[in-house]
Point group: C3
Chain length 429, copies 3
């Protein structure tokens, strides 16, 4: 896909700036990433010390790598992280020494079925080191000795995450998260970081019924750490969305919360229906990104996930082919628009009660046909008004009504607003 971003676009500049940083679950890469995001939105950065017990886990030691490469007997260096930070398996333990090709080979990952690409590997608990090579390069290695350098430390430090809280009219929260722990891969997950940053900018300017909490966290460890340490905030979460993999060419996928028909699940359904762009909803499964933690049965939050190509189902996944040319600014912006639309539904959705429920009220004398929004004629708007009046018996919210009458959610909200202003509807207790 051709890159539609240009040098002037803030989202694309963010992506370009973040791409080279050497991120891992912990360490300086995450800090540099959050610092760059903080230039766009007022992020608070938190540090949680290594060794802190969090749920069934412990905050891991911090991993810092300075250099890593292999040098052949001909003096040529390769697999150098200064060329591509995917070359080093994340959390590789330090090593310096000479290895025969056979010995080296035990520490090399490559992909025979995608021989030109470098795979991404990580091993927090493996207590070893490894390099990742294009398979073509691996098979070309000559017999002989190789000098190997991994200048890295794994020692107590902290886990770092970024947070932006935007207060609303209520303390009920909408939680929006993305993971910041992957090295130089564009779709997984600079796309998520870029879209969440854009959403942060947009939310700052809008009236908010809900309080919004945006989390930029390392995957798994970040969500587990946040859940463990913020019980009160967890209890206030009404809806949530994990954002990842939003820049590729696919239409959108919404992965439902574990409960399956929560308000945000229904909001995504109605947005997808009205977008009519071929987006699809998929059921929850306990595999994927941080929704695994948010939706674990002990929390069971109403958290869904928005992605494009499904994780692991596109061949560029977790390889050096997931680079800047794999994603597209227009797709990032479209994803932000979809998130916006879902948040619009959550902000406006409510259950109304018809205050003149016996027979149809006279709409004409209340001037309801003159309150038309753009692009809808009086006859069509009358139908929306009649549906909202008929269905507002306290058993259906506006999403349900839009779903039931097969009319656009935006028109249903507009009709509900007009009827409420005319004194014909009020919000249910």
């Amino acid at each position: 896909m051709s890159t539609l971003g240009d040098g002037d676009d803030r989202t694309w500049r963010l992506v370009e700036d973040l791409f080279p940083l050497h991120r891992a679950v912990t360490g300086p890469g995450v800090r540099a990433t959050l610092a760059r995001v903080a230039e766009e939105i007022p992020l608070d950065v938190h540090e949680v010390p290594s060794g802190t017990p969090v749920l069934d886990w412990t905050v891991p030691d911090e991993w810092t790598v300075r250099e890593a490469w292999i040098e052949g007997s001909d003096g040529r260096r390769f697999a150098d992280i200064s060329q591509n930070n995917l070359h080093l398996m994340s959390y590789s333990r330090p090593v310096r020494g000479r290895f025969s090709l056979a010995e080296l080979d035990d520490h090399v990952h490559s992909m025979p079925d995608r021989p030109h690409a470098i795979p991404f590997k990580a091993s927090l608990f493996g207590n070893s080191w490894a390099f990742c090579l294009a398979h073509n390069d691996r098979v070309a290695l000559a017999e002989g000795d190789y000098e190997v350098c991994v200048d890295a430390t794994l020692e107590p430090g902290s886990l770092t995450y970024g947070e932006l809280v935007l207060p609303g009219e209520t303390t009920d929260e909408i939680l929006l998260t993305t993971h910041v722990c992957h090295p130089s891969m564009a779709n997984d997950n600079l796309s998520g970081i870029a879209v969440l940053t854009e959403i942060g900018r947009r939310l700052a300017d809008r009236t908010r019924r809900y309080t919004y909490r945006l989390l930029f966290i390392p995957g798994t460890f970040g969500s587990i750490t946040w859940l463990a340490m913020h019980r009160e905030a967890v209890a206030r979460v009404r809806h949530g969305l994990v954002l990842t993999g939003l820049g590729d060419a696919s239409s959108l996928h919404y992965k439902r919360s574990r409960r399956g028909s929560t308000e945000i699940d229904r909001a995504a359904d109605i947005v997808f229906r009205d977008r009519a762009a071929g987006d699809r909803s998929i059921p929850f499964s306990p595999y994927g990104y941080d929704e695994r933690q948010f939706c674990s049965p002990g929390f069971d939050l109403a958290v869904g996930r928005l992605s494009r190509s499904l994780h692991g189902e596109f061949p560029e996944y977790h390889t050096s082919d997931d680079n800047l040319s794999f994603i597209d600014l227009a797709q990032l912006n479209d994803a932000a628009d979809a998130v916006d639309a879902i948040l619009d539904v959550l902000e406006s959705n409510r259950t109304m009660v018809n205050l003149a429920p016996e027979g149809e009220p006279q709409l004409g004398r209340r001037g309801l046909f003159t309150s038309l929004g753009g692009g809808i004629d009086a006859k069509s708007f009358e139908m929306v008004l009649l549906w909202v009046l008929s269905d507002s018996d306290g058993s259906k919210d506006l999403i349900d009504i839009a779903d039931h009458c097969k009319l656009p959610y935006s028109q249903v909200v507009h009709a509900a607003d007009a009827l409420e202003a005319a004194g014909l509807l009020e919000e249910a207790e």
Copy 2:
């Protein structure tokens, strides 16, 4: 469609007699219509004074028109209601004077896409006058002045409706209604008037578990007025049916009540299944005829609607093409048969309890195989008996059982009657 009615048929004579009458929401046309129906069934006629507050509305003034026509400078009269009462927009305000063609044209309705037909228009609240012409005639009008006459009055009077109450063994009511406010159109709604009149005749001769209330009412205003003024009767309504548009060539449509699975909805389902005539059930929508009022959330009555072609979906709708040649006596009679069948189901449906529920009772020694109705062999009837015994655990009524076992409702009732007579079933509390 060729007209199957002949001069000797009471239903067809009624339709022919009613066709020329100039009906509107209020006024002498409705009174003449009800007087003619009262020659067939013992109708009570009620008058409700203009200005009476009814729910969110007020009973309108009474409209009476004596003559209405346009005369060209050549002295030729046209658009004369003595030729076709559709020529005058219903509730046109009085006018007498000379108008240029341009001035006149602001007061003319026609249909460019159906240029030979006169449209039907009405405007209670428009405070204006208008004529309805075939588009072919409209475009042929020459320049020049036109003399216009609408000799009409709109002044306090009353809203008129007809009612026939047929008491039953219980005071629980079945409400059957049709609208009587449309001028010379056959399907909309002489068909409804004719079928309801025929049902009135048939009901007089049958044993009735339910009390029946037949209402011949002006649309919208009539149902709102009746609902507003008969709270006690409203509370006794168990099932109801709005009848309209029953004479055209289409198969039947049953529009479900707002609640969607009430007993009459299920009765219509099983009748349609057993008729096997391609009839179809459609969901409730808050647009249509008087079911809009009966099913409004404050009343939420179990009222469905029976029609053939759906309102607004046949091109003859609300035009002079909806005339006597558009409807057919056989279709009217078939519709009456379908209403009858639905009422038969409601009369006979009940929930039974098996009094010998442990194992199968011995059917042979109770002579149950000799109680066969016409057209069913012993083996088939045994199956019906076994289904009724198996399903009569208090959770299913006879409609549910017929639906469950996929056997004709009439056989299920017959089996239930036989088993009850044999002491093997009794009606649930």
Copy 3:
């Protein structure tokens, strides 16, 4: 179908030995049948006296037949039960005398549409006698007189049934039944007798959570008698299965219990899904075998039925064509395997609760990936573990989980066992 059984197979030898016996609802044929089964499994044989009131019925008199034949004027005997015991209508009353062809013909059954086969007929309450002939033989009968002999008695005796109770860890019971009242027909029902006998052998050797009760009973009368006389045992029945018609070439049919989604219904569903052999589930109907009695609304037990070709839907049904060449040992063994699999599910199914429900627990440090069963890799097993953890919130049992995650039930049980051993799950109260 060619017979796969050989002389050494216990199941096939049982079928061959039982085939010639002259079974009826009561009498010596049933006793001989049960005596032969008792050589395979330790059956208790019960006798219930004629005249005992059982539910709506009475235990019938005992029918014993010594000889029955017809002799033509040429001295040739035919329709002799020593040739095929289907020749005599079951429960024929005794007769000896001379009859014209016309008189005889009133006492003959044959099948014009299957002219080479002898039909099976029975008439407990008919108080008459009849012979069953191949239609080809019937039409070849010459005019003249025929000597008829039915040397039978119908007098007070008893109803006989066999029972094997295998106690388990709990007194909750699984009821497995088959009917033993049909004369020389292989699929209906030597197949059921053979499979239930095989299940009895297999159950003897396994750990049993449930107590098992195997009933070898005459159809209808046997189940009604047992239900009437064992109220306490009836109350302990948790699941049950009627076995019949299991030897023909068809795939399996599971007929659901009347309640339709009991645990054994769901167990059969998941077994059929995992077998992937084209087996099908059908809804309950009040016609068929002893499930009619067990599922009658006063008992409403969770009893399903396992068969191959549906009763009455194969042309060999209730004819002399249902002989040993119509069934196949491999099909009998496959049916026993399916019963075994259903019982395995019932034995292992339970509802678990996740004891570390907040976030995902660390699976690696608990060694859960080394507890793999045969034929599943670590990554696939991780998915099963995650599903079981995610779904174990007390609302789903293991069958529900296997259904939900679309993974084999055996893997779900294996994961649940491993997680329980690791202290991450416990059985719900």
